[in-house]
C-alpha cells in the first residue's frame, strides 16, 4: 500500500556554541499508511516534537527527506506550504496557548478556512458547525481561549485542525495536559472523527496504556532514534529492545 507520509533518514542537529552539537533526531525513517493510527512513544527529550515540527515544516531538517503522497515536500516554502497544510494538520499539547488570546475561538478556527478561500461569513458558519461536530455548543465560537476549560479548548483546537479536512492529523501530546476523564472523552472524539472523516493519525504520547488502546502500530523513540516498531500488544508483551523494556517496567 502506498504510504501517505514517508520520512527517510530525517536528522536534526542543533548547533551548540562551544559544546558538542545536539542531535535531536537521528536518521529516522518511517511511513504512515492511509487510515492508520500510528503511535509514537518515548520520554521527554527523545525528539518526538522536533520530528513532528520537521514534518509540519515548522523546523528545517538538517538532512533527510519527507514525502507526502509520494511528493517530496522537504524543500517547499512560503505560499506553497498551504498545499501541504491542506493534508497535514496538528493539534498541540497546551490547549490554552494554541489560540490567540486576542481572538475568539471562532476566528481561530475560521483562519484556515479563510486562507483557503472561504468568505468571512461562510467560515464563521462553518466554524460553528465544526465546534458542534467536536461536541461543543456553537456559541463557543464567540468565546476566548481563557474563557473555556482545557478540555473544551482542546476540542476547539481539534475543530480547527480538521477544518480543512486534512488526510493526516498529528496529535503532539494532545491529551497529555488533560485529566484522565477528559482524556477519555477526547480519545472518543478522535475515534469518532476518524471514522467520519477518513483520517490517519500520528499520535504522540508518553502514556503506554493510551497507545495500546488507540494505536494500530507503535514506534518507540529513544535519544532521537526509533528503537522499536510493531503492533502495540506485541511490543508491550515481549519488547525486543532494552529501552522499551525499561519504559514498560517503569509504567507498571
Amino acid at each position: 500500500m502506498e504510504a501517505l507520509l514517508r520520512v527517510e533518514n530525517l536528522t536534526k542537529v542543533f548547533p551548540r556554541q562551544g559544546r558538542e552539537n545536539d542531535t535531536a533526531v537521528k536518521d529516522i525513517s518511517f511511513a504512515l499508511l492511509p487510515g492508520e493510527v500510528l503511535g509514537m512513544i518515548g520520554e521527554s527529550g527523545s525528539g518526538k516534537t522536533t520530528l513532528v515540527n520537521m514534518i509540519t515544516r515548522l523546523l528545517e531538517p538538517t538532512a533527510g527527506r519527507i514525502f507526502l503522497n509520494g511528493e517530496d515536500i522537504t524543500c517547499v516554502r512560503g505560499r506553497e506550504l498551504r498545499r501541504i497544510y491542506r493534508s497535514i494538520q496538528m493539534v498541540f499539547q497546551s490547549p490554552a496557548d494554541s489560540f490567540d488570546p486576542r481572538r475568539t475561538l471562532g476566528a481561530g478556527i475560521g483562519e484556515s478556512l479563510q486562507n483557503y478561500g472561504w468568505s468571512a461569513a461562510a467560515s464563521k458558519k462553518r466554524a460553528a458547525q465544526l465546534l458542534e461536530l467536536c461536541g461543543l455548543p456553537a456559541s463557543f465560537s464567540k468565546r476566548y481561549a481563557y474563557q473555556v476549560s482545557g478540555g473544551q479548548c482542546q476540542r476547539a483546537a481539534i475543530a480547527r485542525a480538521i477544518a480543512i479536512q486534512p488526510r493526516i492529523l498529528i496529535l503532539d501530546e494532545a491529551t497529555s495536559a488533560l485529566d484522565v476523564t477528559i482524556q477519555a472523552e477526547i480519545l472518543a472524539l478522535l475515534k469518532k472523527l476518524r471514522r467520519e472523516l477518513d483520517m490517519s493519525y500520528l499520535f504522540i504520547c508518553h502514556d503506554l496504556a493510551l497507545v495500546q488502546d488507540f494505536c494500530d502500530r507503535v514506534l518507540v523513540m529513544h535519544q532521537g532514534s526509533i528503537v522499536e516498531e510493531g503492533i502495540p500488544d506485541e511490543v508491550f508483551r515481549c519488547p525486543k529492545n532494552e529501552y522499551t523494556r525499561r519504559l514498560i517496567e517503569s509504567a507498571l
Partner: protein, 283 residues
C-alpha cells in the same frame, strides 16, 4: 470571590477608571483647544500694537501683551496648535516607524536584525537631547527639522520593545497554529503579532507625549525649532527671557501652558498604563 482583597482590588480598579476618564477628558480638551485655537483667540496673535507693548494682565488682555504688543492669550492658544499637534504627530511617527522596524527585525531575525539593532545601539548610546541638538543643528532650524531630529533619536526605543515582544510571541503555540492554518508571515504579523504588542507600544507612546513636548519646546527655546514670529511655547519663552524680572507674565504664560500640557499627558499616560496592567485587578 468576595473577600476584602477582592473588594480592595475593585476599589483600586474604580479609582484607575476614574483617573483614566478625567485625564482622558483633559487631554481631549487640550487637543480640542489646539484644533479650534483660531476661533478661541480673542485677538489676532500676530497683530502688533507697539503702543500697548508689555501691558500687564487686564480685562482687555487677560494674560497681558508681549514686547510687540501682541495679545499673550491669543499667542498661547495659537501656540498650542504647534506644540500639541507637532508632539502628537512626532509620537505617532516614531511609534509606527519604530514598531514596524522592530517587528520586521524580530520576525525575520538573522542579519537584518543584528544590523538594525547595532544601529539602534548607536542611537541609544548618545544622550537624547544632545544628539537631537546635533541633528537639528546640522539640518538647520525649523519645526519640521526639529521633529525629524527628535524622531531620529527616539525610534530605537519602540523598535526594541516591538522586537522583544515579537521574539517572544514568535515561539508561541498559537503562532505555530496560525502557520499551520496556512497564514503567511505578513498575515500572521497583521492578525496576531501587531494586536498582541499594541498594548505595551501604545502605553510607551502615551508616556512619551509629555517628554517629547518638553524636548520639542526645548529645541525651540534654543532656537532650533519653530522660528519667530511663529507662536510656539518654547520660542515664546526664549523670546521673553530677558524681560523675566520686569514683565514676568510674558514668560509665565507659555511656561504654565507647557507645564499643564506635559502634566496632563503624563498623567493620562500613567492612567492608561495602570488601566491596562493586569495586576491592577479584573477588567
Amino acid at each position: 470571590m468576595n473577600g476584602p482583597a477582592h473588594r480592595m482590588r475593585r476599589l483600586h480598579k474604580n479609582g484607575v477608571r476614574t483617573r483614566l476618564t478625567v485625564f482622558c477628558i483633559l487631554a481631549l480638551a487640550l487637543i480640542a483647544c489646539s484644533l479650534f485655537s483660531e476661533h478661541l483667540c480673542p485677538y489676532d496673535p500676530y497683530a502688533q500694537d507697539l503702543e500697548n507693548a508689555l501691558a500687564a494682565p487686564s480685562a482687555t488682555h487677560v494674560l497681558g501683551t508681549d514686547r510687540y504688543g501682541r495679545d499673550m492669550l491669543s499667542r498661547v492658544l495659537i501656540g498650542s496648535r504647534t506644540s500639541i499637534a507637532s508632539t502628537l504627530s512626532l509620537v505617532g511617527i516614531i511609534m509606527v516607524f519604530g514598531t514596524a522596524i522592530g517587528v520586521l527585525c524580530g520576525w525575520n531575525g538573522k542579519r537584518l536584525d543584528s544590523l538594525v539593532m547595532r544601529i539602534s545601539d548607536m542611537f541609544l548610546a548618545f544622550p537624547g537631547l544632545v544628539f537631537a541638538l546635533a541633528v537639528a543643528g546640522i539640518l538647520g532650524g525649523g519645526l519640521h527639522n526639529a521633529i525629524f531630529a527628535l524622531a531620529a533619536i527616539s525610534w530605537p526605543k519602540y523598535a526594541r520593545i516591538a522586537r522583544n515582544q515579537t521574539l517572544a510571541l514568535k515561539e508561541a503555540t498559537f503562532i505555530k497554529a496560525a502557520r499551520l492554518s496556512g497564514s503567511t508571515g505578513t498575515e500572521i504579523i497583521c492578525r496576531h503579532i501587531l494586536p498582541n504588542i499594541a498594548g505595551p507600544v501604545l502605553v510607551t507612546g502615551m508616556l512619551d507625549i509629555g517628554t517629547m513636548m518638553m524636548e520639542l519646546a526645548g529645541l525651540s527655546y534654543l532656537g532650533l525649532g519653530a522660528k519667530p514670529p511663529a507662536a510656539e511655547w518654547g520660542s515664546m519663552m526664549s523670546d521673553a527671557r530677558s524681560l523675566l524680572q520686569t514683565v514676568p507674565w510674558v514668560t509665565f504664560a507659555p511656561g504654565v501652558a507647557i507645564f499643564i500640557s506635559v502634566m496632563v499627558f503624563n498623567l493620562f499616560g500613567d492612567a492608561v498604563r495602570d488601566y491596562l496592567d493586569p495586576k491592577a485587578g479584573e477588567r
